[in-house]
Subunit: 203 residues, 2 copies
Amino acid sequence: MKVYHAPGTRSIRILWLFEELGLPYELETFTLGSPDMRADEYLKIHPMGRVPALDDGEVTIFESGAIVEYVLAKYGDGALVPDQASPDFAAYLQWLHYAEGMLMPPVNTIVVEKFFLSEEQRNQVNIDRATKLLTRMLGAVEQRLADRDYLAGEFSGADIMSGHATIVADRLGADTSDKPNVVAYIARLKDRPALQAAYAAAE
Amino acid sequence: MKVYHAPGTRSIRILWLFEELGLPYELETFTLGSPDMRADEYLKIHPMGRVPALDDGEVTIFESGAIVEYVLAKYGDGALVPDQASPDFAAYLQWLHYAEGMLMPPVNTIVVEKFFLSEEQRNQVNIDRATKLLTRMLGAVEQRLADRDYLAGEFSGADIMSGHATIVADRLGADTSDKPNVVAYIARLKDRPALQAAYAAAE
């Protein structure tokens, strides 16, 4: 399978997934903003020219959450997903979706303001509002991790999605000073050999 | 099962889902912004005080995409989800996630600016930028619907998620003037008795 990737984007989630599963993957690495991401050939795979996307032969698919679910359903053999009969199953889905539903919208705003807009276009009000919102959204993660190490029982695809979003939120300035569970969670995730291998492969 | 709902929010997706499945549900309806959504009792179900959330006895769950997946896995008996062996399965996951991954972030911005901020706080630059982005994000939906009626074969949970997001995008001023497939799709969705029943139950 081929992963379309760019350093510093959500595509690290897919590298992390493959490393956790111990599945081989091929990388096609773009530089973010490169015209190659807008080439006709790539727009056939991702019509908006974004990463990640996955080429699995007959099937191509984009959206990181969708790729996580697709790979786990097709190749995971039960790994990284709680059994449907388990009470963790609902939590798994909830935190899988929390990443893009709640954490990433303010992340998007901060990234656009800080890294894509010119200095004249940049609006500190937007950055401050998004950072405050992001800090609030991490509150639910803090609470969830009060009595557990991972979001849905054992480490799962939900940690790849919302765990990565949590790492990014911290990096972008969300306030974790009163969130010891979040701080410990980030350290726990970064200790995972699979995430370290993904970072190493990602550059 | 009890659906926590507020008119004018993503919770209509869950009403729509239940109506499509012909499953009974109980409604707990909030007024958006009501202190009831911040009451301790509700914060136990949704720590950020948002809707939708679902109470299924032993299990409570939030995030509309997660609820759609949970209900279909547990009670759908194969309805509204392509079989995993079908090529539509990847498309189903992709468009299920496209709603919150791509369409809703600019929707969030427009809603906050237009309906939650005061006139002095409102920033037309943000509204214009989000509207332009939202229009671009609908481009992928337009392209996808060039030769099909629904996003992943038959009508599916992906249409509840990205279909609802498309209806909202249109309502909020995204430009659909050069997107006949999107316009026809919105009409097709609004023609569905289940969506009409959901709207009727939602007020």
